[in-house]
Amino acid sequence: MTMTEARPSPAASGGVEPQGQPVRAGWFSTSDHKDVGRLYLVTALIFLVVSAVGALLLGIERLDGGLQVLDRQAFTRLSTLVPEAGALLFVVPFFLGAATYLVPLQVGAPDIAFARGSALAYWTYLIGGATLVAAYAAGGGFEGSSDVATDLYLLSLIVLTVATVTALVSILATVIALRAPGMTMLRTPLFSWSVLVGGGVILLTAPVLAARLVELFIRHHFSGELGDPQSYGLVSWFWGVPTAMLLVVPAAGVAAEVVPVLTASRLREHRAGMVVLAALALLGFGAWAQVEASRDDLLYIAVSLAGVLPALALLGVLGDTARRGRIVRKAPLLLALGAVVHLVLGALAGALLGIPALELRGTAWEAGHFEALIFGTGALGAYAALWYWAPKLWGVRLGEGSGTLAFFLGFWGAALLAVADLANGLLSDQPRAATEFEGEALAPVLNGAAALGAAMVALGAVLVTAQVIVRIRRRRGARADDDPWGGATLEWATTSPPPPTNFEGPLPVVRSPYPLSDAGDDAGPVGDDAASNGGAEAGR
């Protein structure tokens, strides 16, 4: 039986795809990666507020012995909700959203791969996140009082891991298969690269968490038990050592994009940045270390200690880049450098946490490690991404003053919170979720500092969320140029915000990690500064 060949598309036959004017879909039905990315970002910020306010409540309860605001059950549930919301509802989805929006633009693709899958992932995440919070409110959680709500809690975590994997399949396929002509893997922009390596390892890690959750769900649903109290370790490894480092690899990628551009400099070696980000991701693979017994292994100790090296290397690479350029006090630069400083702090905390002889596991030190990475690196990296790419995201620039304030609150708040908890764990062996303390004079002071830090983090999160929502709703603030910072990656070669098909004209053939500067080089010899700014014009 013969078959009729499908008519070859113009693009496949070397022609030009007709540039129709797609009808803008509503928020509920859109599969435009830019709309989906924006939805992700705003939703993740709202969940950051939830997590930060939860951390503040926990901090208030530790100010004085005993419980004042919450009852014992609510306090225990909140102490597990805060890290879950911080990791699964804020950090991972925020950078998934940033990647959903930016990766197709950075690699020069007209759309994201599997656009409907990407939209499905967002709605799955939203439903999973809302269900998780609702399940906690209804008495669910690892030490919850309601069986139904606890079932719902476990199901919502499974749904969130499915959403994460679905979104990552779209993003990874875009980076691997939809790069612009000439953009080899080694010429991929560092943010896209960080998403590729970090997201690739998360793609291999999240299903292992899902496997544990499925087993726990079956056990709890049919027997009403979740096992011994140690069972929570089967879930919490996902934001412990070393996996927490993996979750913030895209934040490191943001810093690696922002610092060279805002210091009008270049990484001495683009590949060095790629190696550092890849090392962060690979050392963050922690699915093998989820059972308590593996945490005394030499391998676990070695991996925990080794995690410091790429963090320090990133600080060194970016410091060298900034030293060779012009440091200007712009909000995205402050935020990006702050994220890297917290990455080093978190990595050091993780290294010491991995040494069994120090007996820091189960103490407030563990909380400090999480706070440095999630509220420090994760939140500051997210703010840096918002301030840096806001022109591309919404066509407006976010305020410099509010950006500096966000840096002050986010950096110093997370530092105060994390360092106070680290000191509490080290000096007074304070258990992670304790409310009463004995015999340690320093503990009340440190708990007060931690509460103040949590308040600053929460205030910063509210400020950033409000700033973003107000600016994008009223379109207030300075209208942004297409390339306000003089960036040389492809997202700056299109309008702010981009058209439905991302790029209106043909893109230059990529010949280096800085394609817009290459286009400028074609136009004739240009100076260092003009290479980035003038090159951007030529690229368009």
């Binding site: 499908a6 693009a11 399949v169 496997a211």
Partner: protein, 212 residues
């Protein structure tokens, strides 16, 4: 170089035209990468499930407890037939791709239909095996881990059914051709994955537990 010489002829201040971009990557590569990524995630899911199973078994044996409850007898024949059926469905699934490549549309419909029927036969045989097993979930670590693995696998098989069914309907609509068969190949690739995982599960859960 051509680009340089043409740049030399343009007027001052005019940016020269860039060389034409090569042909954009085909959708086939995107589908292939997406399928490989989804399968990699699936491999890690079942790796995690089977690791949990063996870890629980080691703990039970270290504590001197019986891993499998004494009264549970494995229904070896239905289990073997269930997984053999699933493996056979992989052959018919691949047959559909070969038929499409050979422009034999009728054979492709038959192969897709047979694949779905064999897949449903697996679901039926697995359900029957569960009923024969008489193992209540929530009563032991053995029961919890066995159901975690097999229920997850069943969900993957159902997802593969949906993918192949959608491809079947699209094929009926005349959407595919020998040169444009990436989506069919991707759906069939996912089906192969579900079959191969089935073989691994049969070996780990049933054969190593004292099967035939």
């Amino acid at each position: 170089m051509t680009a340089t010489s043409s740049a030399a002829t343009v007027e001052p201040g005019v940016i020269p035209a860039l060389p034409p971009a090569p042909e954009p990557p085909r959708r086939g590569r995107v589908v292939l990468v997406g399928t490989v990524a989804a399968i990699a995630a699936g491999v890690m899911l079942f790796g995690g499930l089977l690791a949990a199973y063996f870890s629980a078994r080691d703990l039970a044996e270290a504590a001197g407890e019986a891993w499998r409850p004494q009264d549970v007898v494995l229904p070896n024949v239905p289990l073997f037939m269930a997984y053999l059926t699933l493996l056979m469905s992989s052959v018919t699934a691949q047959w559909s791709v070969s038929a499409l490549a050979a422009r034999d549309r009728r054979t492709m419909y038959v192969a897709i239909g047979l694949t779905l029927v064999l897949g449903l036969a697996f679901v039926n045989a697995l359900s029957f095996s569960w009923s024969q097993l008489g193992l209540a979930a929530g009563t032991s670590s053995y029961a919890d881990t066995v159901y975690a693995v097999t229920v997850s696998h069943l969900l993957v098989v159902i997802a593969a059914h949906v993918a192949v069914l959608v491809m079947g309907f699209r094929a009926l609509g005349g959407q595919f051709s020998p040169r444009k068969r990436e989506l069919v190949a991707a759906a069939v690739g996912f089906w192969h994955f579900s079959s191969l995982i089935g073989v691994v599960i049969w070996y780990c859960l049933w054969f190593l537990e004292g099967g035939p």
